[in-house]
């Protein structure tokens, strides 16, 4: 239901991004999905990858400002409207979404998100039989 995500705090410099990706390459860590959002001053680069704990250590040892945390990951059938259905479930339960992004994996859509109430989110996912993905299935 939840998977590990790396969050990297970067200044808006292309150099940092390249450095992270090169470190991944050297350590043979596979990127599954990533997203970057930025404000005027700084950005947070969010990554789903193989071996997140090792990836975390690699980045930390390289002096990069990084955090490892859990995010929800649910799977959606590859047809229109499924994302809306899932978000409606959360909305109806009064859960606020902090951020969300999605990617395709083996013909299925994966919706990754963080909410303001993890307990309630777990409950809503189970009660509404939303299917989710575990870390093993990612790579």
């Amino acid at each position: 239901m939840t998977i590990h995500q790396l969050s990297i705090f970067i200044e808006n410099k292309a150099g940092t991004l390249l450095r992270v990706l090169e470190l991944f390459k050297e350590a043979q860590i596979q990127l599954v999905a990533s997203t970057i959002a930025d404000t005027v001053e700084y950005g947070i680069y969010r990554i789903i990858c193989s071996e997140p704990s090792r990836a975390y250590q690699v980045l930390k040892d390289a002096g990069i400002s990084v955090a490892l945390s859990d995010v929800f990951a649910i799977t959606l059938d590859n047809e229109p409207g499924r994302a809306a259905d899932a978000v409606k479930v959360l909305h109806d339960a009064g859960i606020g979404i902090t951020y969300m992004y999605s990617f395709l994996l083996g013909g299925k859509g994966i919706l990754v998100f963080r909410t303001d109430n993890p307990e309630l989110t777990r409950e809503a996912i189970i009660l509404n039989s939303l299917s989710f993905i575990s870390e093993k299935e990612l790579v």
């Binding site: 200044e11 400002s65 945390s69």
Partner: protein, 431 residues
């Protein structure tokens, strides 16, 4: 309780002693070509100094005067009585030199011994001096002072942290002198080596100084090392360490008024500030023979703490140094000291101790940008980063009265400030 009877003097006794020693000093200064000329130019004679208030008739002495008269121009004794000199290199112009007779060195050692005794150190303590030796006065100054008190004194000097830690554990060091940033470094190495300062060492007293630091930084050091850390103040022009020192109350540094007369002036108008207000520290040495200094402008900013100290000593207390008058930033007509900003930043556990202040002109307005490093990425939620930024901005504004732009940056991206380095970049356009 007290090492010297001078510590127990009442205010009237202190002032009587000061006047006597000031009159002696002024008369003695006429042996130096520099002061003889100064007095002639000012139309003053030593006989004009009849009360402590008359001190204000004497012109100031500045660091520039020391440079201009490098190396021996301020000697007030014949050079065959001079036994030591300390010199501090300046980034501009000549270095400065301070000369000492044997009597000066003895009195210096006494002052340092008094300071160390005041914080509870005794002959059975083992004192490790992890401070630069050579021209830097923190080395020999503490060495002779600690020996004078009768302590086993380890001249560990600075650097080679692992060796320092071996000394601490092997020699059973109970007291250590170092600059605050070096104590932090020692602790990091202790952690790497699995040494717990509380369990594995006998350290209980730290003397820190020579580098401006905030109260928060002191408390952090005390917490991590499991010790009491006392603030030391000195400067090479006034011998070195031993000028002012905290007592066990840890609330202000007693300045030894049997050695110095203290004034606090406004660095712009050169007039005394009202009691208790911040200004530039001006010191007159009254217990020194080789090279006395009259009304020396130290450039250090501080204030005299009002009220009496619970320890009973009536020697005035200086507040923690607020920085250098040269470091003062004037922004939008407000006087700001970098240490004010540092003090606020240190209160945020989310931040590292590194920061950079940049002043720049934007659309003909001068603005301050404060960049701070996030210690850890404690959240990946923008809203929480923004609220942290807002809270830092609000607290800074309350302290310095102008609103800075606060920018969070990843750890390790700002230049590491070494020693006394000031973390201010002034890029303002001057019109």
């Amino acid at each position: 309780m007290y090492l010297h009877k001078e510590e127990t003097l009442s205010r009237p006794q202190i002032e009587a002693l000061q006047l006597e020693r000031l009159q002696w000093t002024v008369k003695h200064c006429m042996n130096s070509p520099f002061y003889k000329k100064r007095f002639e130019e000012a139309g003053l004679t030593p006989q004009d100094i009849r009360s402590l208030d008359d001190l204000q008739r004497i012109p100031f002495t500045t660091k520039q005067d020391l440079r201009d008269n490098y190396p021996y121009g301020l000697a007030s004794v014949s050079m065959d009585k001079v036994v030591r000199l300390h010199s501090s290199s300046g980034t501009t112009g000549n270095p400065t030199v301070v000369l000492h007779s044997q009597r000066d060195l003895d009195e210096w050692a006494n002052a340092v011994a008094r300071c160390l005794h005041m914080v509870g150190l005794r002959p059975n303590d083992v004192f490790q001096n992890s401070s630069g030796y050579g021209m830097f006065t923190g080395g020999l100054g503490f060495q002779y002072g600690a020996e004078r008190l009768g302590m086993l004194t380890v001249p560990a000097a600075a650097g080679n942290t692992k060796r320092q830690l071996k000394f601490i554990t092997d020699f059973g060091t109970t007291a250590l002198h170092a600059i605050p940033s070096y104590v932090t470094r020692m602790y990091e190495v202790m952690e790497e080596m699995g040494i717990d300062p509380r369990r594995d060492t006998k350290l209980r007293t730290l003397v820190i100084g020579a580098e401006p630091h905030s109260e928060e930084q002191r408390r952090r050091i005390e917490e991590m090392m499991g010790v009491k850390a006392y603030n030391s103040f000195g400067m090479s022009e006034m011998c070195g360490p031993g000028v002012a020192f905290e007592c066990q109350e840890q609330n202000g540094l007693h300045i030894w008024e049997d050695y110095y007369i203290v004034e606090i002036i406004d660095p712009e108008t050169l007039q005394p500030v009202p009691e208790g207000e911040v200004g530039e520290l001006v010191l007159t040495t009254i217990n020194r023979e080789a090279m006395p200094l009259l009304r020396y402008r130290t450039r250090d900013l501080t204030r005299i703490l009002p009220g009496e100290c619970p320890c009973g000593r009536q020697h005035k207390r200086l507040d923690r140094m607020k920085g250098r008058s040269d470091d003062m930033i004037i922004l939008k007509g407000v006087n700001i000291f970098p240490i004010q900003i540092e003090t606020i930043l240190m209160q945020f556990k989310e931040l590292s101790t590194n920061y950079l202040i940049t002043l720049q002109t934007q659309d003909s307005n001068d603005e301050m940008i404060v960049e701070v490093e996030l210690e850890n990425l404690f959240t990946d939620d923008y809203a929480r980063l923004h609220s942290l930024t807002r809270e830092i901005t609000r607290q800074l504004k309350d302290e310095i009265l102008v609103t800075p732009y606060v920018k969070l940056v990843p750890k390790g991206t700002l230049p590491v400030a070494e020693g006394k380095a000031v973390r201010v970049k002034d890029m303002r356009k001057t019109f």
